[in-house]
């Protein structure tokens, strides 16, 4: 755990020391929370010398927006938010356009717009290698050609902790400081360090509907109920957080951090199962990455 922490801090410092204009992706989730905490430790007593970037699809849970406000205040960092204006104008939403299209327009395209506008050469992300098979080969410093394309063959070898951080104009680097953390590591660290998290990770009675065998929380009045469909109160929590219509809840009684850790430890299904975007086709994450998704 201490080794993981030191390694992550080293990665964050190295990226900042060599970057022209770094920015940290902040998705408000538990991995982002850990990454932000590590960044604050890396530069203490100074605040981290870069802004946070939240690509806002407009469909995050209300509690996530509250948590975001709190963390920006606490860290003293600048927050940049970006929502794809074309997507908003076209009224893109996960219900009528489907998860794939929504994710492409409101996340992938929006992220590219934001990064192009910022001119960032280094972008921190909270991805972990244990999340998904194609991530297992992801570099800590992942190179994106102009246009943010990820070419698995163009990645640089990473020996020791020596990272080649050079980029040419138009090229960018995605840096993943918590590459080597597992889901359990994340929870243990949150517990050990007392890192604030969105309360949705803990079980509570919440209004949900069942769709395709998964529990979807009705977080605001935009949920399009089918005829006769209505929300029921269930004791649920979330293992991962994203757009509320695309993030399934799990039934759980784990209403404390300790209980969440016990549950994670004994879990029989992976956290990404709650992500509706991974399940479409084999290698779907790999395709999304090539297109510029985180």
């Amino acid at each position: 755990m201490l080794t993981l922490e030191a390694e992550s801090i080293e990665i964050i410092r190295e990226a900042v020391a060599t970057a022209r204009n770094p920015v940290m992706m902040y998705s408000i989730g538990k991995d982002s929370s850990v990454m932000l905490h590590l960044a604050r430790k890396a530069f203490y007593p100074a605040p981290p010398p870069f802004p946070l970037l939240h690509v806002d699809t407009g469909w995050k849970f209300a509690e996530m927006y509250q948590h975001r406000t709190r963390m920006v205040e606490e860290s003293g960092m600048k927050l940049i938010t970006h929502t794809n204006p074309e997507g908003v104008a076209a009224g893109v939403n996960p219900f009528t356009h489907g998860s794939n299209y929504h994710t492409d327009v409101m996340k992938t395209q929006a992220l590219k717009q934001a990064l192009d506008a910022l001119g960032s050469d280094v972008v921190f992300g909270g991805a972990r290698r244990d999340e998904e098979k194609s991530r297992a080969k992801e570099r800590v410093f992942s190179f994106r050609a102009a246009g943010h394309r990820w070419d698995p063959k163009a990645q640089r070898p990473e020996l020791w902790n020596l990272y080649n951080t050079h980029v040419k104009p138009g090229e960018t680097i995605r840096v993943f400081p918590i590459s080597n953390w597992t889901e359990l590591d994340i929870w243990q660290y949150i517990h050990a360090e007392g890192i604030p998290i969105v309360p949705l990770y803990l079980a509570a009675e919440r209004p949900v509907v069942q769709r395709d065998g998964q529990w979807i929380m009705v977080d605001d009045d935009r949920y399009p109920f089918a005829p006769g469909e209505q929300a029921v109160m269930k004791r649920v929590r979330f293992r991962t957080l994203g757009c509320w219509p695309l993030t399934a809840a799990v039934e759980s009684d784990a209403d404390t951090l300790e209980a969440v850790i016990a549950e994670t430890f004994n879990a029989r299904s992976s956290e990404r199962q709650g992500r509706l975007i991974d399940a479409d086709t084999p290698g779907s994450m790999e395709k999304k990455k090539q297109e510029g998704y985180f």
């Binding site: 801090i9 020996l159 020596l162 430890f265």
Partner: protein, 624 residues
């Protein structure tokens, strides 16, 4: 791992926090069952979730090679292209944990064209699991994997003799393979080698000891990984921390951030900034938000110092009393990682711990055959080739040999135009020390100055009558030493009296003062690291004693040039004896002033029996 329900969550978390991490690499090709074995480790350690298993079963039907059995290899073969081609082309990192340890596995391909991938995985690993197909035994690739593992600094090997099920768990096959392996692995200086007979496909000796191998009394693979001691000695080594970032939020705080490469650090410790050499002390150590009293190797810290010293990214904070070497010419091992060849003379960017400099390969000493270790002549270096090279850097580097410390001795080379990572290297030693280093406050002493000249400081004190041949022998000796590359200086009675001692006459008091001054000058010169040859009559025992006492034991070599006064007078090259005899010179040694013969000189030269050349040889013998 057991279910957590019954366990005390707090003590569990405490355990987890202190859990050791073991990084290992698996080497072998797909045919050896490597991916299957890792899949097995993940599966057995319950690191596979139900939905992943379901996906695996569907994948197995589509791409699997195990018929109706679930193909565990598909758990680890990541990229789709590889899945379809059935090969592993990159380094993948896997994670699993037991109650005692967490593991990071670098899964790398085994073919020769992926040497660089294996080196990448091995660079951070402490242990290598080398797979051998029991049916095939030790192959060329086994030698290659062992060689790369050794080169990358891995000291612990597990020889996984896999597919034992296909040889009927035959003990003889297993022992023959071990014997074959040990026969060639002796060269690699591995600290431990553990052989384990197993079947990744069926799980024999993976998690538990198998009933199929009653003749094997060693640990299962998992038991071994869980307990093997790979502890290094970096804790006891002298402190080194490359400065990664200078944290200066305001004028009152200036912290040097980095990860400790070696040694421990406490507030109050004396440290030096290299290469400048400025010395100061540690004021405080921050680990995250907290000030700590001790920091260990691997810790990421922020160090504040008691004085305002100039240090920037790429400098190295080191224990003041034990600074590492600084140099700009090295011999190093180099692995080339791209298609276009490395040619000596081209300039690359070289990145070491937090520092980037330009570097040129000045010579390829030899290429090493990655399979056999044979030394081959080479003018350039191609993809996946390994060589021992001479390297010259644009600025001095603070370093330690890779074999001593990986952080301080490893480097990558970057193409200046494409920015590709083209090579990975390991410094063996410095060819010469950097000449441009400013050791502003570093206390360089006589030993360092002399070592720089590849010699030991000496004062060779020739005493004897005027005309005895002291100067002739001293001058001959200096020529010999000079030819050997030594740094020398001759202090001659005549020279000194023209300048430094021109205010002195030949009274006894003046003669004493004359010797005192010369002895002091000789001492300063020896302190500068020189070999000083003093050619002085120095007739009095007490003055020679005084001179000797100015030097350290062994440094002062008294050479008595013992030539009878009659012979000196016969030679009388300067006509001094004649003048003295005529009364034109008072207090002339040997005529009207005494010469006290040395009682125990280091060298006693009896001329004219000995030729000047013989005398020089005699002195040289006394110097070694």
């Amino acid at each position: 791992m057991n279910d957590l329900h019954a366990r005390d969550i707090v003590s569990f978390l405490e355990e987890q926090r202190n859990k050791q991490t073991l990084r290992f690499i698996t080497c072998g090709s797909v045919d050896d069952g490597k991916s299957t074995l890792i899949g097995r480790l993940l599966f057995e350690s319950k690191s596979i979730f139900d939905d992943q298993l379901e996906a695996l079963e569907s994948d197995s039907r589509q791409y699997g090679t195990q018929g109706e059995k679930t193909d565990l290899a598909l758990l680890v073969d990541g990229l789709q292209a590889e899945r379809e081609q059935g090969i592993t082309i990159d380094v993948a990192y896997r994670f699993f944990a037991t109650d005692r340890r967490r593991f990071i596995v670098a899964d790398t391909p085994g073919h020769e064209q992926y040497t660089r991938n294996m080196a990448t995985g091995a660079s951070t690993a402490e242990l290598a699991v080398i797979l051998i197909d029991a049916r095939k035994g030790v192959l060329t690739q086994t030698r290659r994997h062992s060689r790369i593992a050794a080169m990358m600094g891995i000291r612990h090997i597990v020889l996984a003799v896999n597919k034992m099920d296909l040889v009927g768990f035959d003990e003889a096959v297993y022992h023959r393979i071990i014997a074959d392996y040990q026969a060639f692995a002796a060269d690699f200086a591995f600290r431990s080698t553990q052989a384990i007979p197993l079947s990744g496909l069926d799980g024999d000796n993976v998690l538990h000891r198998s009933a199929q191998t009653p003749w094997y009394s060693g640990p299962s693979l998992m038991e071994y990984l869980d307990t093997v001691d790979v502890g290094d000695t970096s804790e006891r080594a002298a402190f080194r921390m490359p400065v990664q970032w200078v944290n200066r939020p305001n004028l009152d705080f200036r912290g040097f951030c980095g990860r400790i490469a070696e040694g421990t650090l406490h507030p109050g410790d004396a440290v030096r900034v290299l290469p400048s050499g400025v010395q100061t002390r540690v004021k405080a150590i921050l680990a995250g938000f907290d000030a700590v009293e001790t920091a260990h190797p691997g810790d990421a810290v922020t160090v504040t110092l008691t004085e305002e010293v100039d240090a920037s990214r790429g400098d190295v904070l080191v224990a003041a009393a034990a600074p590492p070497e600084v140099a700009d010419q090295f011999e190093a091992k180099l692995l080339w990682m791209v298609e276009h060849a490395m040619t000596p003379g081209r300039q690359y960017l070289m990145k070491t711990a937090c520092k980037e400099v330009t570097a040129t390969i000045t010579a390829i000493k030899y290429r090493e055959d990655v399979n056999t270790g044979a030394h081959l002549a080479a003018k350039s270096l191609g993809l996946n080739e390994i060589a021992v090279v001479n390297l010259s850097t644009g600025a001095p580097l603070v370093f330690e040999p890779y074999g001593v410390n990986r952080v301080m001795g490893g480097f990558i080379l970057i193409d200046k135009l494409t920015f590709e990572t083209v090579g990975a290297g390991m410094i063996d030693f410095a060819l010469r020390r950097a000449s441009t280093i400013h050791w502003q406050m570093l206390e360089i002493n006589k030993t360092e100055r002399a070592a720089q000249k590849h010699q030991s400081a000496r004062c060779i004190w020739f005493t004897g009558l005027s005309g005895s041949g002291k100067s002739t022998i001293a001058n001959l000796l200096e020529k010999r030493l000079h030819a050997e590359g030594k740094h020398t200086y001759v202090l001659d009675g005549e020279n000194v009296r023209h300048g430094l001692n021109r205010d002195l006459g030949f009274t006894e008091a003046d003669r004493v003062e004359n010797v005192r001054r010369v002895a002091e000058v000789a001492r300063l010169m020896a302190d500068a690291g020189l070999i000083v040859l003093v050619s002085f009559i120095s007739p009095y025992t007490s003055e020679r004693r005084m001179a000797r006492d100015l030097f350290e034991p062994g440094e002062f070599v008294e050479v008595f040039v013992d030539t009878p006064v009659a012979e000196c007078e016969r030679r009388d090259a300067k006509g001094l004896y004649a003048r003295a005899r005529q009364g034109g010179l008072e207090n002339f040694t040997g005529i009207d002033s005494p010469y006290e013969r040395p009682q125990a000189p280091e060298v006693h030269l009896q001329t004219p029996e000995m030729s000047p050349e013989d005398c020089v040889e005699a002195v040289l013998r006394a110097l070694t």
